[in-house]
């Protein structure tokens, strides 16, 4: 049938949602013994929602289709829906259990919603719950249409490959790298509960870098090629940092570098430019460390021998399960805060994992709330980093700044975070901006 013959409607595009809708409509006439299962994979963290994993999850259901006259649908948003007949619940449970295990590092599989509902999977007995299921299917058609339309208007972004990496590398020269460099203070809380800045971390905002450097290429889509790109960017960041007109030098610079960068003349130049004026901390990623473990130890020792510090970056409850952080013998170990750490079992696990490191060497990063800092303090952690502290620093700065009546807290926070450009120029007192005052009487 030609849809356009009826009132000039646009031809319907076949989507998984429309197929599901049609199937649900047919099942409506033969509901007996039918059940539906809705796997909410769209609720996974983005990293876990990656195409390959979804494909495998979908594949795991195939046996159910064969066994119970099932139909399965992979939705545009990565959800999976299965409709089948007279299925044994034990079999369904077994598959769901397997999938839950596959995604076990994602909070979706272990954290219930506030009302105690399982957020990972919903079951529908179509004899009893048909209407709610059918309206879900209708809703999915609407949502998918919208997201397809959004995608159509969104700019086309290519994945990073060897071919466009060459182009991206060429563009670095013409990109304002200083404009995408951000800084964030890492504070240390002393026994009087005063907090002072231990060092300032300088890093690139990947989102802004993406926009400035390669708006048409997703530079994060290929881990290895991004790593290659980052080696080149390291050098740019180090040279940019030598040109910033800080009113007051940071007590110490912390930079995220590839191990290879430490061996370059650019690094030596940077080192010379801050020697005697500021300390230096270098943060390393697991990926880079495991590319050359022996090289890592040499690099760490080299830094140490020149009076610098090293950080084992990017630890999380998951990584700490699989490695002994103390073995790397870095000066600091940086753990990213996540809300699931509040869980008693997780807390105990982290205490056991970080005990051998020593809590005075742990940095809790990504602290976006007071809760995160209180949790850290309760465990004996002294060093913190994150948006929550950024706002506190901005608030204290504003309290002491003569020009603050013209600014908002958000502006002050943002101006602290950049090293050049308009936000910094708009600040009425750059001296105050670089001061990073001591935070007193922290609760």
């Amino acid at each position: 049938m030609n849809a356009s013959a009826f009132g000039g409607r646009q031809q319907e595009v076949v989507t998984p949602e429309s197929l599901l809708y049609d199937a649900a409509e047919r099942v409506g006439r033969i509901r007996e013994g039918r059940v539906a299962l809705h796997l909410h994979l769209s609720r996974l963290l983005p990293a876990n929602r990656e195409e390959g994993r979804i494909r495998i999850a979908f594949r795991m259901f195939e046996s159910m289709v064969d066994a119970y006259r099932g139909q399965m649908f992979l939705m545009t948003n990565s959800d999976i829906i299965l409709i089948c007949k007279d299925a044994r619940f034990a079999d369904l449970d077994a598959i769901v259990y397997k999938l839950r295990a596959l995604f076990s590092t994602d909070p979706l599989t272990y954290a219930e919603s506030p009302d105690g509902q399982d957020r990972f999977v919903s079951y529908y007995d179509l004899e009893a719950d048909y209407d709610s299921f059918f309206s879900l299917c209708g809703q999915m058609v609407v949502d998918a249409k919208k997201s397809v339309a959004d995608q159509r208007t969104a700019p086309q972004i290519q994945p990073l490959d060897a071919k466009n990496l060459t182009r991206v590398l060429e563009r670095i020269g013409a990109t304002d790298i200083a404009g995408v460099v951000r800084r964030q203070a890492c504070i240390r809380i002393n026994e009087n509960m005063h907090a002072e800045v231990a060092f300032q971390e300088f890093f690139m905002s990947i989102m802004d870098l993406q926009k400035a450097l390669a708006p048409d290429v997703n530079i994060l889509s290929n881990r290895w090629l991004f790593q290659h790109l980052s080696q080149v960017l390291d050098l740019r960041v180090l040279s940019v940092l030598q040109d910033v007109g800080f009113r007051k030098m940071p007590a110490a610079f912390s930079v995220n570098l590839n191990m290879a960068t430490v061996q370059t003349p650019v690094f030596q130049q940077f080192e010379a430019s801050i020697r005697g004026r500021a300390g230096l901390v270098v943060e390393f990623q697991l990926l880079d460390i495991f590319n050359d473990l022996d090289g890592f130890f040499r690099t760490r020792d080299l830094l140490r021998s020149r009076g610098h510090r090293s950080v084992l970056d990017g630890m999380s409850p998951v990584t700490l399960q699989f490695m002994d952080a103390e073995l790397y013998d870095t000066d600091y170990v940086k753990v990213s805060w996540s809300n699931d750490m509040l869980d008693d079992i997780k807390t105990a696990e982290l205490l056991a994992a970080l005990g051998p490191v020593g809590f005075d060497r742990v940095i809790l990063s990504r602290c976006d709330s007071e809760t995160s800092v209180s949790w850290g303090l309760a465990q004996g952690i002294r060093m913190f980093q994150g948006r929550f502290l950024d706002s506190m620093i901005a608030a204290v700065t504003m309290a002491q700044c003569g020009k603050s009546s013209a600014c908002t807290l958000q502006q002050c926070t943002h101006r602290h975070a950049v090293i050049n450009g308009r936000p910094r120029a708009e600040c009425g007192d750059n001296d105050m901006l670089d001061l990073f005052p001591v935070l007193k009487a922290l609760r």
Partner: protein
């Protein structure tokens, strides 16, 4: 399907000198009826001292080694020291004759014939000349240690300047793109190698447990980018391995011979296990006769995305694959916890230094589980002896291969698996 070539200088495959000294010590009370011959391959012209010459020379005594009549030490300067039972004198002499014939056009051998001086080899009778041999072995160890020390200092220095002074032209994204495109047409079947992982128990001959299928990177490089220094970018190289993974899987998928039958291992990246190509491969092996299939992963790939690894591991286990972590050296073992990572096997790279501080190391290997360890890159008998002394029974390497194949000259032995 391969790993990054070692970034520092290539470590010497063994320190046979210390093993020799060890052995001579042990023979102190058994010197009666023992003899030795020192074959001075180091005196040969450079073109006769390449690796395959040394290997062929060493293999000349293979049969006697198997019969427990002789013990061969391939020294760092390519000399051979063969210690044997007096009853094997004739066979040993025959072997030396063979060797002399092999190098008959070498100046050293010609000079020996001309002057009638024993230049090619020196004979020892241990009951009379034990002390002389002991002193020689001690001197060799000292010299070798000094050389090793100097070499390690040099390689540390080299590592320092490596970034500034790459050898060959650097590996660039542009080049990677070209290589990836030509891989589309290249016949990878030519570059595919097999090497057995064997159970070696007691004195019985090696029994293959599975065969590792891998792409010979040396040959691939020779074919596609001979003048490029792949060390210059480990990350581009890592990307190349992913492209290769997919090409190899699609080749295995097309194969109508019996490659996929029997027990095999293949080298893959974690992301490849999560790719559509692997699902097709999985269907194919399911349809065919599926033996044990071992998936070999690199540590850098595992730790690059632990979440991804855990997912791939659970999926692979669910489908009946085994997971092996490839290419670990002893010093890396504490950082790659097999049990916590839930891997079935690890490959430990044989290195003669494993015999140093043996109790401590044995204890560490037992904690990992000696039945979970494949001792790989066993280029000589010493690896097997060491393995047996700590309870390892799975072995891989050129030496094992030559034991399995009999005649190593018939096989393409230039290749070596990626780890």
């Amino acid at each position: 399907m391969m790993n990054a070539p070692p970034s520092g200088g290539i470590p010497r495959p063994n320190s046979q000198e210390s093993l020799l000294l060890d052995y001579v010590h042990r023979l102190e009370r058994h010197r009666h009826d023992r003899r030795a011959v020192h074959v001075h391959l180091s005196g040969l012209a450079a073109q006769n001292r390449r690796e395959h010459h040394t290997r062929i020379a060493g293999n000349t005594f293979e049969q006697l080694v198997k019969l427990m009549q002789a013990q061969v030490f391939t020294l760092a300067n390519s000399d051979l020291m063969v210690i044997y039972k007096a009853q094997a004198q004739d066979e040993i002499e025959a072997s030396v004759v063979k060797l002399r014939f092999l190098f008959s056009d070498d100046p050293l051998v010609m000079e020996e014939q001309r002057t009638r001086q024993p230049l090619f080899c020196t004979w020892y009778s241990l009951d009379r000349e034990y002390d002389m041999l002991l002193a020689l072995a001690q001197k060799m160890v000292q010299e070798e240690n000094a050389k090793r020390h100097a070499a390690s200092e040099k390689s540390a220095q080299e590592a320092k300047f490596q970034a500034n002074k790459p050898k060959g032209s650097p590996f660039t994204p542009e080049l990677l793109h070209r290589v990836e495109s030509s891989l589309g047409q290249a016949d990878l079947a030519n570059l595919m190698r097999r090497q057995a992982v064997c159970a070696v128990v007691g004195k019985s001959p090696p029994a293959p447990v599975f065969h590792e299928l891998f792409i010979s990177i040396a040959d691939l490089r020779q074919t596609l980018f001979p003048s490029v220094n792949v060390n210059s970018s480990p990350w581009l190289f890592q990307q190349l391995t992913e492209t290769l993974d997919r090409r190899v899987l699609s080749m295995l998928n097309k194969h109508d011979d019996r490659t996929l039958e029997g027990d095999i291992s293949i080298n893959l990246n974690v992301s490849t296990i999560l790719s559509p190509e692997f699902l097709v491969f999985d269907d194919n092996v399911k349809a065919g006769m599926r033996g044990t299939i071992v998936l070999e992963l690199q540590k850098v790939d595992i730790f690059a995305d632990l979440g991804g690894y855990l997912f791939a591991r659970d999926f692979a286990h669910d489908r009946g694959y085994r997971i092996c972590i490839d290419g670990l050296t002893y010093s890396q073992l504490p950082f790659v916890d097999r049990e916590r990572l839930g891997a079935d096997l690890i490959k430990l790279v044989w290195d003669p230094s494993l015999t140093e501080e043996k109790d401590k190391k044995t204890e560490a290997l037992r904690r990992i589980g000696v039945t979970r360890i494949i001792l790989c890159r066993c280029d000589n008998q010493a690896g097997i002896e060491y393995g047996h002394s700590v309870g390892i029974t799975l072995f891989q390497g050129r030496h094992i291969e030559s034991m399995v194949q009999g005649d190593p000259r018939k096989r393409g032995l230039r290749a070596r698996p990626r780890a």
